[in-house]
């Protein structure tokens, strides 16, 4: 279906996402530290962490089964595969016809499925706690995400990410349709939820009161932990890339004919993503972690918001 | 059907009245023996009426029917009833506490008579009826109704049997008056049925009195759904 060049472009773009992901995590941490009046670690710190973890021995719980050992691999495979379908640096994904935005969501679901199982497998109360909370969160985040996509698909046409982003690129800088505005609000909330940010989750602490994601992967170490963290970063980048490319197509090259335009577009993308990441980090410092059973309210708000988007679209 | 034109309506009217009086006799009394004699009287009058009808219609079968009526209903059946109930205690034979009081019963019976006249007028006015029918039909329907009323309103099993017999008489009169006799085979069949029915009910009455130590059907209410 595709010649070698397009395949190569797709693979390179995905590799770019995979490679860039820890950097984005670093940026967010840095911004967060700065807004909290700390110096913070280098933006490259996540790379150092990964490199270190990959070389370390692992400790595995004697209670765990093969599910626990397989889970990080599944997470990583799922997120990396998802990266193949997402237009990031370029306004297209050569594999758009193979996997659309729903496939990306499905792959995230697969990753989450195994994360949750891994949390249960080690027979620790922490794991169960994290899983149980994640069950609730994901159950609500899923419809919010889907409804957002519903609006986006209606407005920009279809679920093929390549053509969605392509359609967005035709607009001037910012998709200024009322329906998209509501979708944007919803999408932003969903991103906070999906990437485990305050007010949903606080990955920085290891307190049972606040943990969700961290509780599930608490038992991981060594290579496995590296894979878990990396896949988490990739997921974060993919979501932000979608946000940026679908809602703020500014600077995106209208066509791929001119090399400089493409390069500029890629640059713009990195800048935009970094900016949004900074925004997310900033939000994280401005709000407090919400009580667990208030979190659904926020997600329901996201659903409602995208629903309003749908209605706006139809009216 | 010859001769009907010259039939003096009086004879029929008077005998019909006699029938009704006998029937009322059943309604107002309490004791079984009184009932039985009222019934016997009623049946004799009925046989007379039948004979009159036979005379005027000239159908010989009706004579036979009249004779049968006299023999079976006025003689045999009362005998049978007396005989089988001889062993039943006397206190069982008295309608002490009917569902409908006696005075009210008379009133209702009167109403039923009126109703039968009204109904027969209504029902049969359109068709051509001879004098016999015109006179006897309302009476027969009254007998029918009063018999039903007796069965429904009384609690002595014996009296229900008598009620049945009154209905039977009403039916007989009805049949004879309306049709001037159906075929004899059927008549005999009907008589046989009645006779056997009375015998069977007498046996049953005896069993009831033996088993339940009463003839009050108020005590026969064990078989029900609740």
């Amino acid at each position: 279906m595709a010649d070698v060049a397009t395949v190569a472009i797709g693979v390179v773009q995905a590799a770019g996402i995979v490679a860039l992901a820890p950097f984005l995590t670093g940026v967010m941490r840095k911004v967060k530290a700065r807004t909290q009046k700390r110096v913070g670690a280098s933006v490259l710190q996540p790379y150092y962490d990964l490199a270190k973890l990959l070389k370390k021995d692992e400790v595995v719980s004697d209670q765990s089964s093969w599910v626990f050992r397989a889970a990080p691999w599944v997470m990583m495979v799922a997120t990396v595969t998802a990266a193949l379908f997402v237009p990031a640096l370029l306004p297209l994904s050569p594999f758009g016809a193979v996997g659309d935005v729903l496939v990306v969501l499905g792959l995230f679901g697969l990753a989450r499925f195994f994360t949750m199982l891994a949390g249960l497998d080690v027979a620790s109360a922490f794991g169960g706690l994290g899983t149980s909370r994640e069950m609730m969160m994901s159950a609500l985040a899923e419809p919010a995400m889907f409804m957002t996509i519903f609006v986006v698909s209606l407005t920009l046409g279809g679920t093929n990410l390549s053509s969605l982003v392509g359609a967005a690129a035709q607009s001037a800088g910012f998709v200024a349709v009322p329906s998209m505005l509501f979708a944007l609000i919803a999408f932003f909330i969903v991103i906070l939820a999906e990437t485990g940010k305050v007010p949903f989750d606080n990955p920085a602490t290891h307190l049972e009161l606040t943990m969700i994601h961290e509780a599930m992967v608490l038992e991981y170490s060594g290579k496995s932990l590296a894979l878990v963290q990396w896949s988490q970063s990739i997921k974060q980048l993919i979501l932000l890339a979608l946000l940026v490319n679908l809602f703020f197509p500014a600077g995106m090259p209208p066509s791929l004919d001119a090399g400089w335009q493409v390069a500029a577009g890629a640059g713009a993308f990195v800048a935009k993503v970094a900016l949004v990441a900074a925004l997310v980090a900033f939000v994280e410092t401005r709000v407090a972690k919400w009580r667990l059973f208030r979190v659904p309210d926020l997600l329901v708000m996201a659903i409602a918001s995208s629903m309003i988007g749908v209605i706006f679209y139809y009216l | 059907m010859t001769g009907l034109e010259i039939l003096p309506a009086d004879i029929l009217t008077i005998s019909s009245a006699g029938l009704l009086i006998a029937t009322f006799g059943v309604v107002v009394r309490r004791g079984f023996a009184d009932w039985l004699s009222a019934y016997r009287y009623q049946t004799i009058v009925l046989a007379g009426v039948t004979a009159v009808i036979a005379y005027y219609t000239g159908v010989w079968e009706i004579y036979v029917a009249a004779a049968l009526t006299l023999v079976i209903k006025a003689v045999v059946i009362p005998r049978v009833l007396v005989r089988v109930t001889r062993k039943i205690k006397d206190e069982f034979k008295i309608e002490a506490n009917p569902y409908v009081g006696l005075r009210l019963s008379v009133l209702i019976s009167a109403l039923l008579v009126a109703l039968s006249y009204a109904l027969t007028q209504q029902m049969l006015s359109s068709s051509s009826l001879d004098v016999v029918a015109m006179t006897c039909l309302p009476v027969s329907v009254s007998l029918f109704f009063i018999g039903l009323f007796v069965i429904v309103s009384r609690r002595m099993a014996l009296n229900q049997v008598v009620g049945l017999l009154i209905i039977e008489n009403g039916l007989f009169l009805f049949t004879t008056a309306l049709t001037h006799g159906v075929s004899l085979v059927i008549e005999i069949g009907i008589f046989a049925d009645i006779l056997v029915g009375v015998v069977i009910s007498a046996i049953l009455l005896f069993r009831i009195s033996q088993t339940f130590d009463t003839l009050d059907i108020g005590s026969l209410e064990k078989l029900r759904d609740d």
């Binding site: 169960g128 159950a139 899923e142 | 609690r155 059907i217």
Partner: protein, 687 residues
């Protein structure tokens, strides 16, 4: 095109095989022999069924099979006609039965010397046979005969363990509900009969004069209620979570995976074949199905999410999946009403594909649950745990089923849910704002369902197979016999094949339902879009996704291995216990605690009640407790709010009616007279 003899022979062979499976075991007193004698012919018969159905479905032909004699009169006879639609459902039956028959050989050893295997084999085979004949039937009479025979056989299987009051009660609920449903179905068919004057399906398909709208509406509503009852559509679903778990697990698998599909068959037959919608006036049918379907999906999964009994949870999940199927069917009807043929094809494809997939993974999961029951003798998730180590094969196969049913790539559940989502998204083409908005609300329900389904199966797999065993039974569990593994593997294989190679399913569905094959071109699922000037094509290729996942896995493995400069070791050590000391199974999250947040969020539906009783050391000090006991329960709002009051009212009415039997002979005579008087009055009034 109607095909001939070879297929008829095959059809007779199918019938013979199952009859042999029913009767031959009756000759064996030995349980082991009896089980082989009944399930081996069952497996053979299902292979024949698959062959027959697949050849008809793929070739797009039809097989007509009148029996040589009339049962009672013309049209009161057994008459069979297998077209693509029948063949497709027959294929589902065949595939699942093959897996389940193999599985049953091992599974029935659970009952050896305790219960009659002969009865099990007899009923099992008759059950399957009646399902096959239901979908093959071509007139009202034979449809109903086999439909009720199917209900009856399954009813006896539900009360197979008949000493327990619970299973008798479940069976009663089931048979009464299903009989009520049959009454509606009969009403629906006979309404068509009223119109056409013939009981053959052929006349319904092409009536002499077109059916008037009101008849069609009646037909549809009755069919929806009737088949919906059998399918477990909310709110007629209450029997399903009682009955399916009560049956032996192999039968549960058949009931959940296949039997409720016969109801889908009936519904599809009526809505697409007999009374196919052709004008926007019928759009409300589809909308009703969309609403009922999405409500079922959501409510089913919400109850599945909190259920402790693993088989009951699976039964609730069947309600969910049937909801998704009916949602798809409803969308297809909506689209058809507006003449959107291509979209209708997509929705129908989604619906039927999901039927097929659900058959594969639900049978797998029920068989898995049966294996768990076989190994531990409990189906209460609270008492399970840690089975992944004791029963690794069962765990692996169950996990495949769980992934598939959660709608995750690369397995089959994802593919059909993808199509369903596409159908939902395509509702923008419906030229009616009210419908558009309603469908988008249904989309929320659908997405919520998908989210909760994921949670449900994480919990189910996790609580059953992972962490520590929570009871002695779970601790001493052993792997199940090979035949059971083999049976489950067949179903798991189907999950994988239909996932990775969708064309295996979609191509066949397209040919058997006469759909345009472009919606299901070779392994790429496509749906065209055309929104306000933007033309695009949404597409997805499961094989490619699978290949990419494999490639990504290889790349990652290569990278990780290459990046580690030295060989790393893996140390086995106990789980981190916060320095507390030995962790034990009482400290872990149980199935109930896992679902507690969901229970809290959706408390409006569950009406949870919690009783906490404390035993204190002394009354003066409330803080020192000897022990605490927490009991929580949830209610089924449908049973409490809908069925209980309705049954109570009806029963109260009948109770008053029957009391006319007072025992008083005088009263009885009075009735006779009143009846006479009333009838005379009536006679006067009547012309």
């Amino acid at each position: 095109m109607i095909i001939g003899d070879g297929h008829s022979v095959l059809f007779y062979l199918v019938i013979l095989a199952f009859i042999a499976g029913a009767l031959v075991p009756l000759a064996f007193r030995n349980s082991r022999k009896a089980s082989v004698a009944s399930f081996a012919p069952g497996a053979a018969g299902s292979v024949l069924t698959i062959a027959l159905a697949a050849s008809i479905a793929v070739s797009g032909t039809a097989l007509e099979m009148p029996l040589p004699f009339a049962a009672a009169a013309t049209e009161i006879e057994f008459q069979f006609y297998i077209d693509g639609m029948s063949a497709f459902f027959m294929l589902i039956i065949g595939l699942v039965t093959l897996a389940v028959s193999i599985y049953s050989i091992g599974y029935s050893s659970e009952y050896h010397e305790k219960r009659s295997i002969r009865a099990l084999g007899f009923l099992f085979n008759l059950f399957v046979l009646s399902m096959i004949l239901v979908v093959a039937s071509d007139n009202v009479f034979s449809f109903l005969v086999f439909w009720e025979a199917m209900s009856l056989a399954s009813f006896f299987l539900v009360i197979y363990e008949h000493e327990s009051e619970g299973s008798i009660r479940a069976g009663m609920t089931y048979i009464v509900m299903t009989h009520l449903g049959t009454a509606f179905i009969l009403g629906s068919f006979l309404a068509m009969y009223f119109q056409t004057g013939s009981l053959s399906f052929d006349s319904f398909r092409s009536p002499g004069s077109p059916m008037p709208a009101y008849i069609r509406d009646i037909v549809f509503v009755l069919a929806l209620v009737g088949f919906g009852t059998k399918a477990g559509l909310v709110p007629m679903h209450v029997w399903l979570p009682q009955a399916h778990p009560s049956a032996p697990s192999n039968v549960s698998a058949l009931m959940s995976a296949v039997m409720i599909k016969t109801a889908i068959y009936g519904l599809a037959r009526v809505t697409l074949d007999f009374a196919a919608p052709s004008s926007p006036d019928s759009a409300w049918w589809g909308m009703l199905m969309v609403v009922a379907g999405s409500a079922s999906a959501l409510i089913g999964v919400l109850y599945a999410a909190i259920e402790k009994d693993i088989k009951r949870a699976l039964a609730f999940s069947s309600i969910e999946n049937i909801g998704i199927v009916i949602l798809g069917l409803g969308l297809s009807v909506v689209f058809l009403s507006f003449g959107l043929q291509a979209l209708a094809a997509v929705a129908l494809l989604a619906s039927m594909y999901h039927s097929l997939n659900h058959a594969a993974f639900k049978s797998l999961l029920f068989m898995g649950a049966g294996s768990v029951l076989f190994g531990t003798h409990t189906k209460n998730m609270e008492q399970l745990g840690g089975l992944a180590k004791k029963m690794p094969w069962t765990a692996l196969l169950f996990l495949i089923g769980a992934i598939a049913i959660s709608g995750l790539p690369p397995l089959n559940g994802f593919a059909s849910e993808w199509l369903t989502m596409q159908a939902l998204l395509s509702s923008y083409q419906v030229p009616n704002v009210a419908l558009q908005v309603s469908i988008s609300f249904a989309s929320i329900a659908f997405a919520l369902t998908a989210g909760i389904a994921l949670a449900t199966f994480v919990r189910m797999f996790g609580a059953t197979f992972l962490s520590r065993p929570r009871s002695k039974e779970a601790e001493h569990a052993k792997e199940v016999p090979k035949t059971m593994i083999a049976g489950m593997s067949v179903a798991a294989g189907l999950c994988i094949v239909f996932g990775i190679l969708p064309f295996a399913a979609t191509g066949m569905i397209a040919s058997s339902f006469g759909l345009d094959e472009s919606v299901a071109s070779f392994n790429v699922l496509t749906v065209p879009y055309s929104v306000s000037g933007i033309e695009s094509i949404s597409s997805m290729s499961m094989p490619a996704v699978a290949v990419m996942m494999g490639a990504a896995g290889a790349a990652i493995a290569g990278f990780v291995l290459a990046s580690g400069s030295r060989k790393t070791a893996r140390k086995i050590y106990s789980t981190w216990d916060c320095g507390f000391g030995e962790l034990n199974e009482r400290m872990e999250y149980t199935a109930s605690s896992l679902s507690q947040p969901i229970r809290t969020v959706f408390r409006a539906l569950y009406k949870p009640r919690m009783t906490i009783s404390k035993d204190r050391y002394s009354d003066s000090n409330p803080y020192m407790k000897k022990s605490m006991r927490v009991e929580s329960e949830t209610k089924d709002v449908f049973e409490d709010r809908l069925y209980a009051p309705a049954v109570k009212t009806a029963v109260g009415f009948f109770d008053r009616v029957r009391r006319i039997q007072t025992g008083k002979v005088n009263a009885y005579l009075l009735y006779v007279m009143i009846a006479l008087a009333l009838l005379l009055l009536l006679a006067r009034v009547m012309p």
